[in-house]
Every structure is written in C-alpha cells, then in structure tokens.
C-alpha cells in the first residue's frame, strides 16, 4: 500500500469529544512543532456545545510557512467513536489513521488505502491510573507521546513546554511527563517509527508569536487606552472581553491602591453594551464593545445615533455565519455590509479588516485613535477563524513615543480664551468639528447632544438647509478618513497582467499561498489586500488599472464586491466574485481552483456585443 511521505508539510487532524480535556494536549502538540522552528497553522473546529459533542483540531505543518487552511487530512487522530466513519473517510489515500486500539474494531470500520496505527491508549491508562478524570486527561498526553515517536518530534521540546505550562506545579508537570513518555515508549517499542510524515527541525519561525486574534485585539484595546468595556456574551467574541479583563488585571491595576484603571460591564444585552460605550465615549473615556453578527443587528439604532451625534465608539465584530443564529461556531465574513451601513437613514462607518492577530493588536489600538479623531463608530472586523484560533504571526510592536490621539477636543483654557465653539462647526474644512467633554467649563462649551437635527451650534432645528449642511459635512468627514485608515497592500505579479485579485481579513494567508500556486499554473494576478473602509484612493486606482478583478470573500453575497461597486461606481461585470461560505476557513486549494476555473471560463466567453 502507498504511504504518504512528506517532511514538514502535512496536515494532522484530531477528532475529539468536547470537554474531554483534549485541547491542552493538542495545543502542546502544536506548540512543540513550533518550538522545533517549523511553522504551523492550527484551527479548532467545534460545535455549539459545552460537553459531549464532536470537536476537531487541525494542525497544518508547513515548512514553507503557509498559514491558511490547506484542506485534506494526511493523518487522522481518531479519538471520537461518534464521528469515526466520516473522520476515516476524510483521510487522503495513503494517509494515516491513528486510533485507540483497546477495543477491537471490525475490518469494515477501516479503509484499505490508509495506513492504520493502533495504540491501546485506554488500556494503558486504565493500568496506570485509578482516577477516572485522570485516565481521561492522561490519555490525551499519551497520544501526544506516541505521535512524537511516529512523527520524529523532539521530546526535549515537549518536556520544556510541560515545564513552562506547569511552572510551580511540579507534581502535575511530572505526571504529564510520565504519561508523555508512556505513550512515546510504547510506540517506539511496538510500532515502526518514524512513519512517512516527519518533522525535521527548521529555523523558519523566527521571533514570531502564536496567539489568537481575540486576545490580540483585547491587548490592542489595552494599549489603545480603552478604559470602559461593555459587552454581552456571544460566541465567537466572548473571549475578547474576557482577555481584556485578564490583561487589565495584570497591566491596569494601580500598583499602590490595587484599584482598577478600567471598568468592565457585562451588560444585559447588546443594546445596553453599545449604550454604555456611547455614554462613556460621550463623556471622554475610550470605550468599546465586542460582539458578533446578532449583536451588530441589535446595536443598529445606537450606531446611527453615534454616527449622527458624532460620538466615538469601537466595536469589535468577531464575525460568524449568519443570518439569524446561523452557525454560531463557524466562520464567515458576513457582516461587511451590515457594519458598513449600520442603522437607519444615511450612514457610513469606518471598518478595519485585520488579517491575523498581529493586525488585530495594531488595528485594535488604532481603532481608538480613529474613533476619537473622527468622532464616530469604528468597526474592527475579525472573524471566528482569526478570533478564536491561535495564529503564527509577527510579534506585537509598540512605539513608546506614541501618544493617544484624542482628536479635536476643546479645553477649558481654549474656551476661556474666547475660542469659538460650535459643536457641529467645520472650522478646519475637514468635516471634523470640535467637541467638549461634559463638565469642562462653568459657562462655555456646554451643548445638548441629540439624535434630532440641529444647527452648527447644536441648537435644535428642523430646517432642511441646516440638516443638509450637517449631512454634507458628515460626508466630508468620511472623505477625510480615507487618508487616515490603514492603506491597502499590493503585491505585484511576476509579470505584467491585466488581471487582479482583491481580498481581505482572514482570507489573506490562503490567498498568498494560492497566488504562488496560480503563478505556477500560469495565471498571473496583481493582488491587493484591502485593510479598511472607506476605501483608500489606491483601491480604486488598482481597480482602474485592471480589466478583471477577482474579489475573494467568505460570504454568499459578495459583500465587499457590493461595497466596492457602490462606493467606487465600478462596473460590477469587472469584479468577479470568488466566494467561500460553508463555515470552514477558506483554503488555498479552493481559491486556486475557483480562480483557475473562472479565469478559463471567462477567457472563452465571447465579447458582449457578440451575444444575442
């Protein structure tokens, strides 16, 4: 039988039962490979459930450094009888099936074209441990031990990681080490080690870090100076607010008094969450909420108020599959339009599209400067894939000379000196007015904030001309924002081409990999990664420079393409959608196939005028 052989280039998938303690063993497996200097991309695939349902963990080992999901499974660690059949079916021909062989299984449960590796994990655990929970947990570490032998993983790296993980808990560290070696020794003694899939130490990780986007975004909020967080639990954004709490306790506790330089409210719903954010920001604090699609729907009215009354707000939208409850634990880029034009009436909002946790941190901090500078809501558009998975990314960086940009805030001194204050007065021609914080001056600078129309001095009016004047200024302000938001990043093809591709967010890693492969296929594309809305002029220039532009997205309706079409008055026929929206992260294989397919199909389509 054929046996796959590959060094530092394969996919291992773990099929586990939710709540069985497999997560920490799987992370240990993933981190050990990183410590060997080999890049990996790992993803959790989990159901909307706490205990008992199937959950998967996929590790893509890629010496080349590809961080997107590859698709396909070279080795399945099948620890869940419930999903056995589909797990076995997923293995590539010539791949490997690793399983717990304690209970004999009928031959019909296996495939002829995969290599079967049985390890009597339960039997070994039952012999070694008495406590039921310990038997369960140690079984996980034991399979990591067996895999280390099969894949040629450096055991010293695993031991070092266990030591760090259980620092100060030597007994736990020791029992984990023992379980690891029990599995490893059994495999070395009873199995042919190594198999065709092998790890070989590299120096390809560098100083990169391994972290999830939600934690990174939360840390960005800490560095960005956020002091008020109001949120309502919703998958997949919950861990963002929880990470903010965790980081703040460490980094924002007054060392002398032990008191908090932050406030976190777990609100009664998303309406209250955004209400608290708006109230806090109106009063001069940097405030944010973290939510997902259904929360964005609930926040619509407040977002419109914040837009019209010009109040900063930062909203981290960790997107999941919609509409409605959709697939709460599956990823999608489904809220682009809902966020861009959130609320009733004419509204437009700043959106940021981080590609990985590194940018979640950077944009997480930048969002607060942008919100203050433009006195408006800013959406940071994460998704479940970035938010809840650990990604290998550039380390976080901070320039200590950087200061918060609080935007145009008139001080008591300026008011006292007689500077004219009109809350909605465009003094600088950039559409951005000055604001004052409540309580600034005894007799000057107070104004009444309202969602109803008013003149430039915040006085109530229903005069059409004053309303139009204000709405036009808001447009000017949005225009100004184009130059402040993160610029797009272009990657030119190896040879001149009239074809381009636009992509954003978590599709980036898969896209980069696909570009290399497409080049090999003879398809040359200039590529532009869009990082923000409003679109920088460079985005429209890129579209103008190409005849045909593929727009790669993870939603059904080609939402970014729609936004480009509307905002840039682009002929939709020139923007070819490439859409992946089954809830799993997009893969390079998918992009490559879809673009190759569309490219060839489009090339044979006759010119329009020739059509009947």
């Amino acid at each position: 039988m054929r046996a796959l052989t590959a060094t530092n280039d394969f996919v291992v998938k773990f099929a586990n039962v939710n709540g069985s303690g497999s997560a920490s063993a799987n992370t240990l497996f993933a981190k050990s490979i990183l410590r060997m200097g080999i890049p990996i991309a790992s993803r959790n695939i989990f159901p909307s459930n706490i205990q008992g349902l199937p959950t998967w963990f996929e590790v893509r080992v890629s010496g080349e450094g590809h961080l997107g999901r590859r698709g396909g499974v070279d080795m399945m660690v099948a620890m869940n009888p419930q999903t056995w059949d589909r797990d076995v079916a997923e293995i590539e021909p010539g791949g490997y099936l690793f399983y717990d062989s304690t209970k004999p299984l009928p031959k019909s449960k296996f495939r002829d074209d995969v290599n079967v590796i049985g390890v009597p994990l339960t039997e070994m655990c039952n012999a070694a441990y008495k406590d039921a929970r310990q038997r369960q947990l140690m079984k996980n570490i034991m399979y990591v031990g067996a895999l280390s032998a099969l894949l040629q993983m450096d055991p010293a790296v695993v031991e070092a990681l266990l030591g760090e993980q259980y620092k100060g808990k030597e007994r736990l560290a020791q029992s984990n080490r023992e379980a690891f070696h029990m599995g490893r020794d059994w495999a070395l003694k009873n199995l042919e080690c190594p198999i065709g899939l092998r790890l070989s130490p590299l120096d390809a990780v560098g100083d990169r870090i391994f972290v999830d986007g939600n934690s990174a975004a939360a840390l960005g909020a800490v560095y960005g100076g956020a002091t008020v967080c109001a949120w309502y639990p919703i998958t997949p954004s919950t861990s963002l607010a929880e990470a903010f709490d965790r980081y703040c306790r460490r980094l924002r506790t007054d060392p002398e008094t032990g008191k908090k330089r932050y406030a976190i409210v777990q609100a009664e719903d998303e309406l209250a969450s955004i209400g608290v954010v708006v109230g806090a920001a109106w009063n001069g604090a940097r405030a944010f909420t973290a939510t997902s699609g259904p929360g964005i729907s609930l926040m619509q009215e407040f977002v419109g108020l914040a837009y019209f009354a010009e109040i900063p707000a930062v909203i981290f939208d960790v997107q999941r599959a919609g509409p409605s409850t959709g697939m709460p634990t599956r990823t999608q880029q489904g809220d682009v339009l809902a966020a861009a034009y959130a609320s009733h009436g004419d509204t437009k909002h700043i959106l940021l599209f981080p590609e990985d946790p590194h940018e979640c941190f950077t944009m997480g901090a930048d969002a607060f400067d942008l919100a203050d500078r433009f006195q408006t809501p800013v959406f940071v558009m994460l998704d479940l894939d970035i938010g809840m998975n650990d990604w290998l990314c550039e380390p976080f960086r901070w320039d200590d000379s950087r200061r918060m940009d609080r935007g145009k805030v008139m001080t008591a001194e300026e008011l006292e000196a007689g500077k004219t204050f009109g809350r909605y007065l465009d003094v600088d021609g950039d559409g951005i007015p000055y604001r004052t914080y409540p309580g600034t001056h005894p007799s000057k600078g107070a104004f009444f904030t309202r969602g109803t129309s008013r003149d430039r001095f915040a006085k109530y009016t229903e005069q059409g001309s004053a309303y139009v004047d204000n709405m036009q200024r808001l447009l000017r302000k949005f225009e100004t924002a184009k130059a402040y938001v993160p610029r797009p990043i272009e990657r030119r093809a190896a040879q001149p081409t009239r074809d381009g591709v636009i992509y954003y967010g978590s599709s980036s890693a898969a896209m980069r990999e696909a570009l290399v492969a497409l080049e090999g296929d003879g398809i040359h594309l200039d590529a532009l990664r869009v990082r923000a809305f409003p679109f920088h002029d460079e985005v429209m220039d890129f579209i103008a420079r190409h005849d045909r532009i593929f727009v790669v997205e993870q939603n059904r309706d080609a939402q970014l393409r729609t936004l480009l079409t509307i905002e840039g008055c682009v002929d939709p026929a020139r923007l070819v959608p490439v859409l992946h929206y089954d809830g799993t992260p997009i893969t390079a294989r998918f992009i490559r196939a879809a673009i190759a397919d569309k490219a060839s199909a489009l090339n044979v389509v006759p010119l329009r005028k020739a059509m009947p």
Binding site: V228, T257, K260, V265, A272, N283, P438
Partner: protein, 351 residues
C-alpha cells in the same frame, strides 16, 4: 408653550446662592411642552433644588431617552451638558457616562413609556447595578408625542381621552425599584412643589441609585374625568407618608416638632434628612415593610407619596467594581499604556 424668550437681564435683587448664582442661571431653553404640563413643574423643581444645593451647573450631566419628558433636559441647567439619547436606553448611556467620570452629578430624566415600556429592561438593570445618579420618571400614564396612547403605567380601568378603558395591569416602577435594589426611592407629584423640591435635593445628595417616580399629569391627553393620572384624581387620592427637609452641614435647626413625630437620617455625605411622619409607623428605612405598605395602599386605591425608602449608607457601581478615584476619562498614556517592555514580555510568553 411660550414663544417669547425670557430677557437675559436679571433683576438686581434676585437672590443668589453661595456660588453667586441666581435661579435664572440654572434655567435652560424655553420649554416647547404644552402650557400647564406637569413636566415643566418638575423642571422648575430641579432648577430650584440645584440652586438651593449650590451645585455648579456644569458639574451636572443630564441624560434622557425619547418622549415629552426626555425633551425637558433642554429646559433646565443650560450650562450643563445634556444627552437626549435613544428611546428606552438612557440608563445604559448614563451608566457609561458615570463610568467615564465619577466626579460629575448624573441626572437621568425619563418617562413612563421610556422607562416602563420600551426601556423596562434597562430601567431594571441600572437599579440593580447601583449607579450613582438621580433617576426621575415623569409619569403621566400616556404617550404624549404620539397623541394619547396608554402607557404601561396606566392603571387598569383608567379611561383614555377618547373613551377606551385600559384592561392591562399597570407597571409600578416604585415597586420595581425597591425590589431591584435602588437605595433611594420616592414618589411625588408635579403639582406639589413643596414635596418635590426636597426629594430632588435629597436624591442629588444620595451616593447611590436614587429613583423618583413623579406623577405628572398630561394636560393634553390624560387630565380628564376617569383618568387616574389627572390633577384632580392625584390630589384626591394622594396619601403623603412623610414630609422631608434636607439640612446641609452648617444649617441651624430652627423649627420645633412634636416629640416622636420626626426621624432624622444622616446620609453618607453628611447631609441630614429630617422626615416628619404623616403616616403613623411608616419606617422609610425598612425596605420590606415599604413594599408591603405600598401594595396595601395601592389595593385601597391610594397613591402613596413621600420618601418611601432610604439606605443612608449605599454603595455604588464604582465601589463595587473597585475603580480608581481619578475619573477614567482623565487617565493619560502613562496610566493606561503598559509600553513596549511589558509587550516584549507578553510576546516572549507567546512563543
């Protein structure tokens, strides 16, 4: 409503408070409500209370939702920042504002539609969080801006102007506030300024969640025969349990009272609330007894007013959270940004 703006000139003999301000300095824009609206009386009482307490107007933040009552913050304290926010959501906005700057005085103005219908959830949660504020519901039992629909505080059996009888049970905000942990609960009547002004003063001095349900007849849509929120009905059925005097630190005590008829409660800030009992055995520091009493009197068709419950030593949201004394909106880069050295350590732990 009046179309004539008041002249800005003050009469030189207008009395001034300790800050040198006259009452006129606490006024706002001209009211656009109907002539005779109870809400305007409440605005006047707020002006009076703030003036008497020597509050600097700009240190007050006034927040409201949507509705007739929510328009009123424009009509008092013109030197204060105001925020006319979203229907039923003022509590969350006020909570956020309070978190940003614990040093200001927060005054939430709402109505019965705003707080008992669309905003009942947020009303409940701001009370249970103990936000330091004065929350006034200007309760007229009717939707004014949309012309006369019943609100959720309309009493069962009350008659609408066009003749319909309300068949739904009324929501009693005072009962809810008591149950949900408000530490100052009062009910008053916009037609009784002598009762209302001291209640607002005491609420403003209270360092916790203070709630005043103020019955405020709607002259346009709910002041007719058969309404239970009309001036006449409230006057006839008003059962006042106590009369309140607010005594600040150095104020000499002049009046004399019958022994046993007066209770004095010292609030955390040192102010003394002197309560003259009108209902025998009513103890405003006993929350459970207060709830029982209110239910009994309600069943008898009476509207109980006065200071109904007071916890003289309340905690508030900031105390519960353990936030720093400096307002969060005044913290700068040095206090908020951990810097590159801390980030290097975080990076190291993620490798």
């Amino acid at each position: 409503m009046s179309y004539l703006p008041k002249p800005k000139l003050h009469h030189p003999t207008l009395p001034k408070n300790a800050l040198g301000y006259t009452r006129r300095d606490y006024e706002g824009a001209i009211s656009t409500l109907c002539a005779g609206c109870g809400h305007d009386s409440i605005s006047a009482a707020i002006i009076q209370a703030c003036w008497e307490l020597d509050i600097e107007p700009h240190r007050v933040a006034k927040l409201s939702g949507i509705g007739c009552s929510s328009k009123t913050p424009d009509y008092f304290l013109g030197a204060s920042h105001g925020f006319n926010s979203v229907h039923g959501r003022m509590p969350s906005v006020l909570t956020g504002a309070n978190l940003a700057n614990r040093d200001l005085i927060y005054l939430g103005i709402s109505g019965d539609g705003d707080s008992a219908s669309i905003g009942l959830g947020q009303f409940a949660h701001i009370m249970r969080r103990g936000v330091n504020m004065t929350y006034i519901v200007e309760n007229n039992g009717v939707y004014g801006l949309t012309k006369g629909q019943f609100s959720a505080t309309s009493d069962k059996g009350s008659k609408a102007k066009k003749g319909a009888i309300n068949t739904d049970e009324a929501i009693d905000l005072v009962g809810l506030a008591l149950q949900l942990g408000a530490t100052f609960v009062a009910r008053s009547f916009s037609g009784d300024k002598a009762q209302l002004v001291p209640l607002i003063k005491a609420a403003l001095l209270h360092k916790g969640a203070a709630f005043i349900d103020c019955i405020s007849p709607c002259v346009a849509f709910n002041n007719h025969e058969g309404s239970t929120k009309s001036y006449d009905f409230v006057r006839e059925h008003n059962e006042v349990v106590n009369k309140l005097d607010v005594i600040l630190g150095r104020q000499p005590i002049t009046a004399e009272y019958e022994p046993g008829s007066v209770t004095e409660v010292t609030q955390h800030d040192g102010s003394v609330l002197r309560l003259r009992k009108l209902a025998p055995d009513y103890d405003p520091t006993d929350r459970v007894a207060a709830m029982n009493y209110l239910q009994e009197r309600k069943a008898a068709g009476e509207i109980v007013t006065g200071l109904l419950y007071l916890d003289p030593d309340p905690t508030d949201l900031h105390a519960n959270m353990g936030t720093v004394e400096v307002p969060l909106n005044r913290l700068g880069d040095a206090e908020l940004c951990p810097g590159s050295a801390a980030l290097a350590r975080i990076n190291a732990a993620l490798r």
